[in-house]
């Protein structure tokens, strides 16, 4: 440790790119903010709320887009290779903060940067080439219109550098799809809320990074290595992170959630899917009848992750989706649970090869598979209800369970063609356009992930109050309600759920802000995480301080959303979940009893009955 220097496992440098002016400038990281918001999600959001008008047009030059690492990113702390993209969302109008693994986060950190802030809008398509301190905006007319996979290949060929890491947008973002992702390392994505759409609106096609400076600057390296080793052992010894996730990936959940009666099916009309087993994690291991190979080739890890839940899959070469398309006869990112659910059970499709194909296209063209699948499910219900017809769809019959139609819609949306342009609106705008807004399964215009809250009541509250619209990664009470982590609660009762949701939300905000993957928390508690942060970062990063930091971040995000025009009235769920009871399974006869949880939640948060943080709460948290 150097004398008189604050050791924060930070590079303490921000790269500010003004796309309008074409300038790239270094500036020091605000270390006072780092002490209050830790890093990644929290710290980048602090920058955004200070620099961006909450009422701005998300796709205008006045919005900013921040790529951010955490203090533990680039260290051997397990799962700490994460990075996030923070901006204002064009899908929700709220804050967007999308987290991705892969390798680009470490590469940015190794190049010497904690954060890259993009502002303005480039007059022509450009990409950022970043090699340590050398940052350069390069014209990208030749890349515009290319897919993620083509862009990745072209940039690697141009620089003749196999170790170059690329994050970029595909065609969908350029065509204005409102749920476009930023894909890095071919098949990892900052997936939700349309962060890729914002990137494309700035005429920024890609970020290509090579970092060789290293990450160090730890407060107490010896203690850090010791606590990191102990924490890795906790992951290895835990049945979920040591066995379940490496073997089945997040797809370990498909059968479990179906049995719990919480697998949203056919646009959330039902809560159990008869074909769940055929698209489950177990099914991915079964040899295919046609070629004798299983869907799953191997599991894979993001940077520094000792869990390795990622899926590497192939599609059967004889499957209708890839006949005469050898570009898809490769190994690439296979379906994870949320994608498998949205493309599968929610559209009523039980064809694993078709889902894998759609997943490949989502990676290739940069689309959020959750919103995509849910929007297709809504379109299928609109079609069944007669609200849209073959004339609207260009002749396609949108029937639930039709794998060929599913694949066609995914293709069209990826390229921004035909009815795919309507799908690219997301389900809320789609259902409004065709006069049936109640058929959109969204909160704050963002689609639900794969847990029906009628069968997991806490998730109902978590969805309703999430700061980025419906989302499983802001307060994953599924862990407690279904898996018994850290302790089992009854998924069908509402008592105690307000406190549970708040605790998960605050803890998750702190975990994200350290640069750690939230999946680590299947095994780690804050007692495992805080010592790793504390050994790396100056200051006393106790469990209490981590949780207080999480609560501060949550309230800061809330404040931004309220200033953007959202209100407590937006903390609700679609009528279907509040009025139409689950038809089968353990939750049969139940709706989400949100009104039993929400007032208590507001009170626990120190918010008014309208969901506004009180002056007292804000001042307690230093906001």
């Amino acid at each position: 440790m150097r004398q008189g220097v604050i050791e924060m496992a930070w590079t303490k440098k921000i790269l500010r790119i003004n796309l309008t002016e074409g300038t790239c400038q270094a500036e020091p990281l605000n270390m006072e903010w780092a002490g209050q918001y830790l890093g990644q999600r929290g710290l980048a959001t602090k920058y955004l709320v200070e620099e961006v008008d909450p009422k701005c047009n998300p796709l205008g030059p006045e919005n900013k887009l921040i790529m951010t690492t955490g203090p533990l990113t680039g260290t051997p702390a397990s799962t700490a290779g994460r990075y996030s993209v923070v901006t204002k969302s064009p899908l929700t109008g709220a804050l967007a903060c999308s987290n991705s693994g892969g390798f680009i986060g470490n590469e940015i950190k190794n190049a010497g940067w904690d954060m890259i802030i993009f502002e303005g809008r480039s007059p022509i398509p450009v990409y950022l080439y970043l090699e340590n301190e050398h940052a350069e905006l390069v014209p990208a007319e030749d890349l515009w219109g290319k897919s993620v996979w083509e862009t990745d290949e072209l940039l690697h060929a141009r620089y003749q550098d196999p170790l170059l890491r690329v994050a970029c947008v595909g065609k969908s973002a350029e065509e204005g799809c409102l749920f476009a992702c930023i894909v890095n390392d071919m098949h990892r994505a900052a997936g939700r809320s349309g962060v890729g759409t914002v990137m494309a609106s700035k005429n920024l096609k890609a970020v290509a990074v090579r970092g060789t400076l290293g990450v160090g600057n730890l407060k107490d390296p010896r203690r850090f290595m010791q606590v990191v080793a102990e924490a890795k052992k906790v992951l290895a010894d835990n049945p979920v992170t040591g066995q379940g996730l490496p073997t089945y990936g997040t797809q370990v959940l498909m059968n479990v959630i179906n049995e719990s009666g919480a697998l949203p099916t056919r646009n959330m009309r039902e809560v159990q899917f008869e074909g769940a087993e055929q698209v489950s994690g177990e099914a991915m291991h079964e040899p295919r009848k046609s070629d004798g190979r299983p869907n799953l080739t191997t599991n894979t890890a993001c940077f520094g992750c000792t869990i390795a839940c990622g899926r590497i899959s192939t599609i059967d070469q004889n499957h209708f989706s890839v006949v005469n398309k050898p570009e898809y006869w490769i190994n690439s990112g296979g379906v994870e649970y949320e994608a498998a659910w949205a493309l599968g059970p929610d559209t009523g499709t039980a064809d694993l090869d078709a889902l894998t194909y759609c997943n490949f296209v989502c990676n290739e063209q940069g689309m959020d598979p959750i919103t995509l699948g849910s929007t297709i499910a809504a379109a299928m219900e609109l079609y069944q209800e007669g609200a849209i017809t073959k004339e609207d769809t260009g002749g396609l019959e949108l029937k639930f369970g039709d794998a060929e139609v599913l694949c066609k819609l995914v293709d069209l949306t990826g390229r921004g063609e035909g009815f795919g342009r309507d799908i690219g609106l997301g389900s809320q705008r789609l259902c409004e356009k065709y006069g049936r807004p109640e058929l959109s399964m969204t909160v704050k215009k963002q689609e639900f992930p794969a847990y029906d809250p009628r069968g997991i009541q806490g998730m109902g509250l978590a969805y309703a109050t999430s700061n980025r619209g419906a989302c499983h990664l802001r307060g994953y009470t599924v862990a407690s309600e279904i898996m018994g982590i850290p302790e089992k609660t009854d998924p069908l009762v509402t008592e105690g759920k307000a406190a549970l949701v708040k605790a998960f939300q605050d803890a998750t905000a702190a975990v994200d802000s350290a640069g750690i993957c939230v999946f680590s928390t299947f095994a780690w508690t804050m007692e495992d995480i805080a010592p790793q942060v504390d050994a790396a970062c100056e200051g006393d990063w106790s469990v209490e301080k981590m949780l207080e930091t999480g609560e501060r971040i949550w309230n800061m995000e809330r404040k931004f959303n309220l200033e953007a025009g959202l209100t407590g009235a937006d903390d609700t769920l679609p009528k279907r979940l509040l009025k139409e009871a689950a038809k089968t399974g353990p939750a049969k006869g139940m709706v989400v009893k949100l009104d039993e949880m929400l007032p208590e939640y507001y009170e626990l948060r120190g918010w008014t009955a309208d969901g506004v943080p009180t002056e007292e709460t804000l001042s307690r948290l230093g906001l």
Partner: protein, 152 residues
């Protein structure tokens, strides 16, 4: 007993913990670009392959060094670079058929795996036992056992 690194690519997940451990041990910084062991990803095939120096008996790098900067560690059998002697001529990097000795522009010397003096950090850091440190005369033992178990 002389020991050697044994690498089993089928077990590798591509997490790079080995590269982090190697660069920390040798450079006191987490920096994959300064690692003596590298993991190669073959994306389209879905394969990850760690690769490093195999400590050749008649090591090309050692034979070719004009200043005798590469010597045998009698305990571990590793071919080690003596930094004070190395002049950074890079002839060894040309001689090595496997590419496992490389120039380090930060120090102006070459770097290669030295088995960490008999306790290789990469093997300790590997979460899946894709890299192990085993009896040098029996690196095939696990595979022999697997085949033996499958045979009649």
């Amino acid at each position: 007993m002389l020991k050697a690194l044994q690498i089993e690519p089928a077990k590798c997940t591509g997490c790079l913990q080995c590269e982090l451990a190697c660069s920390w041990e040798n450079e006191q910084v987490f920096n994959p670009s300064k690692s003596r062991i590298k993991v190669f990803t073959f994306h389209d095939e879905g394969r990850f392959v760690p690769y490093t120096c195999t400590q050749c008996t008649e090591a090309w790098c050692m034979q070719t060094c004009p200043v005798d900067a590469i010597v045998i560690n009698e305990t571990t059998g590793a071919k080690e670079v003596i930094e004070e002697v190395c002049v950074g001529c890079k002839v060894c990097t040309i001689a090595c058929p496997f590419g496992t000795i490389n120039y380090n522009s930060s120090s102006g010397k070459v770097i290669k795996c030295d088995l960490c003096g008999g306790e290789p950090e990469c093997a300790k850091a590997c979460p899946t036992d894709a890299i192990t440190y085993v009896d040098a005369d029996h690196t095939g033992l696990a595979r022999m056992r697997a085949h033996a178990a499958g045979g009649d």
